[in-house]
Symmetry: C2
Subunit: 109 residues, 2 copies
DNA sequence: TCCTCATATGATTACTTGCTCATATGTTCA
DNA sequence: TGAACATATGAGCAAGTAATCATATGAGGA
């Protein structure tokens, strides 16, 4: 810890959001940190899709997709509605798109 | 795979970014998906800090912080400069702030 | 009611990851 | 040159996680 940082640290501690909020923020980005989930969200950009369409699109098992959809739903990033035997998923709100868009800008600079 | 999705899938496949790009996007968000790294980036909001100041701020070992700084640097999210014995880290660009800001909006809605 | 289709879910496993410990590198000063 | 300080880095371990497999739930049609 060497030399003295107390002034700087006091200032920063004062400006930083609460630990719990930063934890939630990390948890949110963790959801975006998986290629399968990113693909699912991107697929839903244009509108709702049923589970079997998503699994066909990504060429993955229905089970794998279902598990990921549950993760996304628990995080309030997607919503679902039932229509007969099928269940249709869609993006919960516009934040999903804007978060992905910001990430995209950093990648493609 | 049941019923026919070929029309929908054809359209979506056409609009989706390349797999490699989506992979990079996931990798980027993965970096943001850890509370320690989020805290480090937030700490650097106001300007550069040396490693020992960060580790004192977060109350973590110098080694743990160094490892995370390496991760952040490899992802081009932070830069460093040496000044004598100390090495000062700062945010690489404004994208870091805007990505975090977007995430924040979703959390605090 | 029984069968089939669409989806959900629990358990298991292979892989990833963040921290720790020990040690290496690099800088300043006497 | 050697000692002290600041930081980096490699190995190892414990915790977390994404896919798989088997099975459960739930809806529609014969």
């Amino acid at each position: 810890m060497a030399h003295d940082h107390s002034e700087l640290l006091k200032k920063i501690r004062n400006d930083m959001p609460a630990d719990e909020l930063l934890q939630d923020l990390g948890d949110l980005f963790k959801i975006f940190g998986d290629t399968t989930r990113i693909k699912i969200m991107y697929a839903l950009y244009e509108g709702e899709m049923c589970v079997c369409a998503i699994s066909e699109l990504l060429n993955m098992t229905q089970s794998a997709i279902s598990h990921q959809l549950k993760t996304l739903k628990d995080a309030n990033l997607v919503s679902s509605r039932r229509d007969g035997k099928e269940i249709y998923y869609s993006l919960s709100d516009e934040h999903v798109k804007s978060i992905i868009a910001e990430g995209f800008e950093h990648i493609t600079e």
